[in-house]
């Protein structure tokens, strides 16, 4: 029975199938919201309301000829998409969505899994850099360099912002953090500042518009993905979609008080909360223009980092006041 549950857990619910379906759904949702904000219709003619558009994109790319530039070193070039997908999918498993018991920390939810989650979420950025570096196209090398420069910008504020609610809850286990805030919803207001900082930092991690310099279409052509086509490009796009889902899931767990209730009710609150966060991300994407790489780093260190430290200070004060 336990084997069946783990298999189900691995392959179906927060596993590959669910992440694939929910990733494509969130890409459709993001494109639709982005288009509506621009007074446009967005994808409508593939399936009901264009729901199947990302699926159509995915299968079309899978069916396309796969061109490997001879200058690139083949091994790395071919392995990276699959590796990126694997990393993001495993980080999806740590979300406290189902099949965890608060008392006994099993492998699905153990003390310190928030640190593992953050580490796994920052791996795709390195995969992106390696992808850019291994396809020896000039534009992608510049794109790769930009990916890393940005990494130093938003990584520290993101860690600080995400960890401050954990400090208040007094535990490193996602399930316990969520349970803590479910009992005292008033404390969520303390973390609003951290929520904003984390939102902007996740926008930078996912390289979306204000920070989409690494694959800025108008400047360096395709950026990191210039040389990729066919199946590898499909896998990379899927990795970015799933990364968006997992990152917004993480924010929902930490800042919006997790997913109360059993399997069914938990799933409903998971969908609602992540869609709310993806809506906020699309809002940021529609309202701002792309800023330069030096501005990103100066913005991150001059604005995001101090706010995150302020948030940590507030949390420690509240914790002292509570105990």
């Amino acid at each position: 029975m336990a084997v069946l549950r783990t298999l189900l857990y691995l392959l179906v619910y927060p596993g590959l199938l669910f992440l694939f379906v929910y990733g494509t759904f969130s890409e459709w949702y993001d494109r639709k919201v982005y288009a509506r904000l621009q007074n446009r219709m967005g994808p409508t003619h593939t399936g009901r309301f264009g729901l199947l558009q990302p699926v159509a994109d995915f299968f079309k790319l899978m069916a396309k000829e796969d061109v490997v530039p001879d200058a690139a070193d083949k091994g790395l070039f071919n392995a990276l998409p699959a590796f990126g997908l694997a990393v993001v999918a495993t980080s999806g498993l740590l979300l406290p969505v189902w099949n965890f018991s608060l008392a006994a920390p099993g492998w699905t939810s153990f003390s310190g899994d928030i640190i593992v989650m953050l580490y796994l979420l920052s791996l795709p950025t390195l995969v992106l850099f390696l992808a850019a570096w291994s396809s020896t196209n000039l534009f992608s090398t510049i794109g790769g360099a930009r990916v890393l420069t940005m990494l130093f910008g938003y990584e520290v504020p993101l860690f600080l912002a995400v960890l401050s609610p954990a400090v208040l809850a007094g535990s490193w286990r996602l399930a316990e953090i969520a349970a803590f805030y479910q009992q005292r919803p008033a404390l969520l207001l303390v973390n609003v500042l951290g929520f904003l900082v984390a939102l902007v930092a996740v926008q930078a991690k996912l390289e979306r518009t204000p920070f989409d310099i690494p694959h800025a279409e108008t400047e360096i052509v395709g950026g990191t993905f210039t040389e990729y086509s066919g199946k590898k490009l499909a896998l990379f796009r899927l990795t970015t979609d799933i990364e968006m889902v997992v990152a917004s899931g993480l924010l929902a767990t930490v800042f919006l008080g997790g997913f109360p209730g059993g399997a069914l009710l938990g799933f409903a609150s998971f969908v609602i909360k992540t869609l709310f966060i993806i809506f906020l991300l699309s809002l940021i994407r529609a309202l701002t223009s792309r800023i330069r790489i030096d501005q990103v780093v100066s913005f991150a260190w001059r604005v995001l980092a101090p706010l995150a430290v302020l948030q940590l200070l507030a949390t420690i004060l509240v914790k002292g006041f509570l105990s």
Binding site: M41, T46, A56, D57, A63, E65, F225, E227, L233
Partner: protein, 139 residues
């Protein structure tokens, strides 16, 4: 069953690459115009892509000038396989006003095989969309 799925997905998400081979950029503006709210091609899943690697359909305008000739051939070869070419505007079809100039090859089909011609000087955005939809219907 697999190639039925491939065919469906190819019809439903044609990614286009815009290529100007020395045109007077009236047709180019009309192509970009097709992306804006009034004609919004994203409804059909059409997205403007930046590199030939990501593109399925090459939308080309302009009578091919001699300087651009070998660049166009190189871009055509870079595009991965199931690819189509749409010649937009009278220039791309047969050189329009510049037919017979010393520096112009006179039309896109002198250089790369073309699948669909969209007439008009410039071709209206709705004519361009009609061209893309008809091309996909032929699939």
């Amino acid at each position: 069953m697999l190639d039925k799925l491939a065919r469906w997905s190819r019809i439903k998400s044609p990614w286009i690459l815009h290529l100007n081979s020395g045109a007077c950029n009236a047709c180019d503006i009309e192509i970009v115009d097709a992306l804006t709210p009034r004609f919004d091609v994203e409804r059909f899943g059409i997205i403007l892509r930046a590199t030939p690697r990501h593109a399925d359909v090459i939308i080309a305008t302009g009578p091919v000038t001699r300087q651009m000739k070998d660049r166009i051939i190189r871009i055509y070869e870079q595009t991965p396989n199931p690819k189509f070419v749409i010649a937009v505007g009278a220039c791309a079809m047969a050189g329009c006003v510049y037919r017979g100039a010393y520096n112009v090859m006179g039309g896109l089909d002198q250089v790369i095989p073309v699948d669909m011609y969209v007439p008009g000087c410039p071709a209206r955005p709705d004519a361009i969309i009609d061209g893309v939809v008809k091309l996909l219907g032929k699939l």
